[in-house]
Symmetry: C2
Subunit: 340 residues, 2 copies
Amino acid sequence: MTKTIHSIGEDALVASLARGYSRPNARLIKGMGDDASVTIQAAGRALLATTDVLIEGIHFIKAHTTPYLLGRKALGVSLSDIAAMGGRPLFHLVSIAMPPETPKAFVNGLYKGMDAAGQDYGSCLAGGNTARLPGRVMVSTTAFGEAAAGRVIYRNGARPGDVIYVTGLLGQSALGMEALKTSGAAAIRGRFKEAVKRHLDPAPRIAAGATLASGGLATAMMDLSDGLGIDLRRMCEASGVTAEVELEKIPVSAALRRYARDNRVSASVFAASGGEDYELLFTSPPGRAKAVATAAKRAKITITPIGRVTGKGGKGRPGVVFVNADGRAVRLKKAGFQHF
Amino acid sequence: MTKTIHSIGEDALVASLARGYSRPNARLIKGMGDDASVTIQAAGRALLATTDVLIEGIHFIKAHTTPYLLGRKALGVSLSDIAAMGGRPLFHLVSIAMPPETPKAFVNGLYKGMDAAGQDYGSCLAGGNTARLPGRVMVSTTAFGEAAAGRVIYRNGARPGDVIYVTGLLGQSALGMEALKTSGAAAIRGRFKEAVKRHLDPAPRIAAGATLASGGLATAMMDLSDGLGIDLRRMCEASGVTAEVELEKIPVSAALRRYARDNRVSASVFAASGGEDYELLFTSPPGRAKAVATAAKRAKITITPIGRVTGKGGKGRPGVVFVNADGRAVRLKKAGFQHF
């Protein structure tokens, strides 16, 4: 008989998770098993905290992923927020709500994936919560990180003249989702498998974010969760500036170029409109371009300049403009993912 | 036309929440509106963190409460975990998932309630997340608190000979829920209105927890979320001890005595079995009884001794025994709330 969450009961479930995924850590005094987790604060350092939720049917489809990958993504998207502030991960809390008939193996896989991502990026499980939810699995992750108090990077620091950069390739996650919609789980091993991997298991850019922040290189930074179109607009609004992006400069994969050609769409527009890339978007003065390139090398990631901050924002100002190779403004039809 | 979350959109919703509920705070550098909240750490102090989720249809019924009270409860249950460790609240993050057709007024009420509870207990909103969830409202709260590093109280410190205490009255929340089941929202103004209030708006015992912890008075502490029967067993298992509770000593309200008489049940057994009281359960050496009474006065709360830690636990040992007035062991039929 398949062991379910219902057949095991809450206490035994929590105890088995505490046994399997507690890791010794110098800053963690008490993880799972008490009313709250207990960690030691570090004098003069900023504590970063962020929370995200993945809901079955909204943020993921069970048939298109595995419990292990879902666990990696649940933690990964929260750690991406820590990276976006220039922080290093510390700990995470996890709330999982699920139907009583959920197999124990599903929960094990989920926690195994979170644990593996935690090890990859330096975060350890500090506690959490389980609840019953008929019909859906929901995973809520709260991640903690830290940075030197004066080195945290916000969205609101972009200044006219700054260069706009992104890490990695854009549109990969959206391409992966398209492939999953078309081919189902078979896409995991199909021709767009790299893109599918990015969609199911995004890689938070911890090293890049921390290097850019500690070097004082980024004036504003955020992660790309809802698509460049939406997210850059948010950064510009927070900073009170306008921006221009050269569509042709947006870094895209060969696979996306192929897909775009076959489907007669613009790879750049597709990339600028797709959500969930979890790459970093940041601005930096033009004089720091060499230092940015060095930081990219150190963090082992490509960093691409895609545009610049054109001026101060305000009523009636253009906001964010995307221009094509001959300088004409292009309107993004679907500017990323809005939740409601 | 009623404004809904869908008609407003995510960014405007978050912006309006950030405007309405951001409070200046010496430890909070950046609240809502960036990728993560930023707070300042305090040297040598323990950081406490805990997460809870309230799901419509499981943890609450919309018709039996108001958005304001739901907000108070969502934060209150998390702050109760901070109290149970002996901590003082600092900040909280909130994830809310809801149907797109949710009225904006509902969200406003929820945040107003959380804000009011935050002010009552010293916690301020530092950030959060919104997501779409068809058919249900779900509120996930992560609360942060702190305590002197050596003064945190865990579940595992109870020692043979210790006296077992609880704060306040037990069974109030369960009585309130019974009244709501019987009379619906009319119960809010009915004969059990005090009990209904406890159910809908539990009061985390911050002052009591912090006073007991800073005075070194409690050897083990936790909050009563799932009922004394279940929670004391958890404390005994964590501490490796056995315990005896005198049913007659369990503090109950006059309203519960009346209800118990009318329904021919034992008020004490009802109180020991009911969940969600969010009172504190703690142990303390008999020699500190006077100091505990003084602490109770300072925290303006009743604290009642209900039993004692009888010995070391182990295989085949009795665990937790409830005895009635003539010393006979009584078996609790329904020992509180289990989530699966």
